[in-house]
Symmetry: C2
Subunit: 288 residues, 2 copies
């Protein structure tokens, strides 16, 4: 496999080089935010939506935005140009920067931007999107600001690890009160009686870029009725279809949850329509 191309504060470095200081607050507190953008045909998909969310996350944590959105776009293009990779993902994170360790924000601190572009083809993803994914449920143990795309990801890491150990593709998280929130790295949806259900955007889920594209572009274009309300596993068990969305998963059908089939155990027809509409948007933005 090809190595990732990496950048720190706009300068190219080897991804395996030591470039971060040990008192970077990203390293000691997870005090930072990130984005992952998908590259198709040598172009970034939905980059502006990612950048908008990046700056929201920075504002929520009061991390100074020391780069303009235009510079962030340029860094993405520089990684694409340098790597020559046509398919893959660009990872970006900004931490509050390096200062002697204190819990509160340091007085003087300069944020640190690191980025990688990792090559990857879509073959594996396409296979999975075709046949659908088996998932499990796990308790949602995360903090109460999941709307910030922060580096405090241990809850997600432990949930995804449980999925892996169960031979499942993803773990969908369930709060103490029974509310089903989202996957460890994806949003979660049901289709029941031709209505699309998903958790409302609040502090308990991340408002995914793919989720926003689905809500704001695809659902209206398909004339799909959307309900953003909380629901429990009892409701999930009666659903006709289920699927996940994320930048890297795209639109991923769910065919079983905790070893019980969803619907007839194959990807649903509404899910298929949404997949097709998403592919059309990728074609339009990245292949024309």
């Amino acid at each position: 496999m090809l190595e990732s191309i990496a950048m720190i504060n706009g300068d190219f470095v080897d991804v395996n080089d030591p470039v971060v200081t040990m008192e970077d607050r990203g390293y000691q507190f997870g005090d930072g935010v990130y984005e992952v953008t998908h590259v198709y045909n040598g172009r970034c998909f939905a980059l502006q939506w990612h950048i908008d969310r990046l700056f929201r996350s920075l504002r929520e944590l009061a991390i100074p935005g020391i780069y303009t959105p235009e510079e962030i776009v340029e860094f993405h293009q520089a990684l694409l140009d340098k790597s020559g990779f046509k398919e893959g993902g660009i990872y970006l994170q900004i931490t509050r920067g390096t200062a002697p360790r204190t819990h509160h924000f340091p007085e003087q601190v300069v944020p640190c931007l690191t980025m990688t572009m990792r090559p990857g083809d879509r073959t594996q993803g396409e296979l999975m999107r075709d046949k659908g994914a088996k998932i499990i449920t796990v308790p949602d143990i995360r903090w109460l600001r999941c709307d910030i795309k922060s580096l405090n990801l241990l809850g997600n890491v432990l949930g995804k690890q449980k999925a892996k150990e169960a031979g499942a593709y993803e773990a969908v998280q369930v709060r103490d009160n029974g509310t089903v929130t989202e996957g460890t790295s994806s949003n979660f949806y049901l289709v029941k009686d031709d209505v699309l259900w998903t958790h409302p955007t609040n502090n308990l889920i991340l408002n995914g870029v793919t989720r926003r594209i689905l809500m704001e572009k695809i659902a209206p274009s398909l004339g799909l009725h959307v309900v953003e309300k909380t629901f429990t596993m009892d409701f999930v068990k009666k659903t006709d279809e289920a699927f996940l969305t994320s930048t890297s998963m795209e639109i991923m059908p769910v065919v079983s949850i905790d070893r019980e089939a969803v619907g007839d155990g194959t990807p649903g027809q509404v899910t298929r329509k949404i997949q097709a509409a998403y592919q059309a948007l990728i074609q339009e933005e990245c292949y024309r």
Copy 2:
């Protein structure tokens, strides 16, 4: 101020040198654990208790322990010897290590140990411990595994920042259901009718080393009755005394909460006895 002395995987480095890779999971997920040990008179206080907790945290996150407890002790001594510092704090963290970014645990990964020794005198702390601290309350927005001393500290960071902005010393956190858990970097206690109250050790608080010393050594020696039960702010408002404990705060009297005086607004008599007992333990371990 003197610079901190730093180590990575047992080798001395400059604390400001870039020594960490950007794909260290500590940097991208907060996937690691830490400890802070107080140094008095050139000796580490309660080091074995910290090391025991360190290995528990590692086990809970399934991070392989690639150093023995004896090696961890040696690294602390090496930092003391090299620095010549007599007073201060030794910070230690272990992350899962560096691997191409995936949420689940990577197959092959070598944990990374970083340590710093920061010099510091106790003058400021002594003044505060003498007059007592003003604190505020904030919502507890942290994840549900606060028993692990992990690097996912954004909830604590945001709470401490609120305290700082309010001119307060610490913020004590209150769960959605009204339960008062602990400070952002300390445990929290009440004394009411000569009984010591504190939150039970479960997934919602960190079992502090100072807390353990208080529960297992000081309270029995003072004949103090201890109740480990949850309580709400209504109960806090009727307390006679309140205080915080942590490795760096030691035993810190609380004289006001959200601008309302605790008791008569001065450190309480039971708190003073606990302070004296704690100083005696430090004397015994580090000055004899």
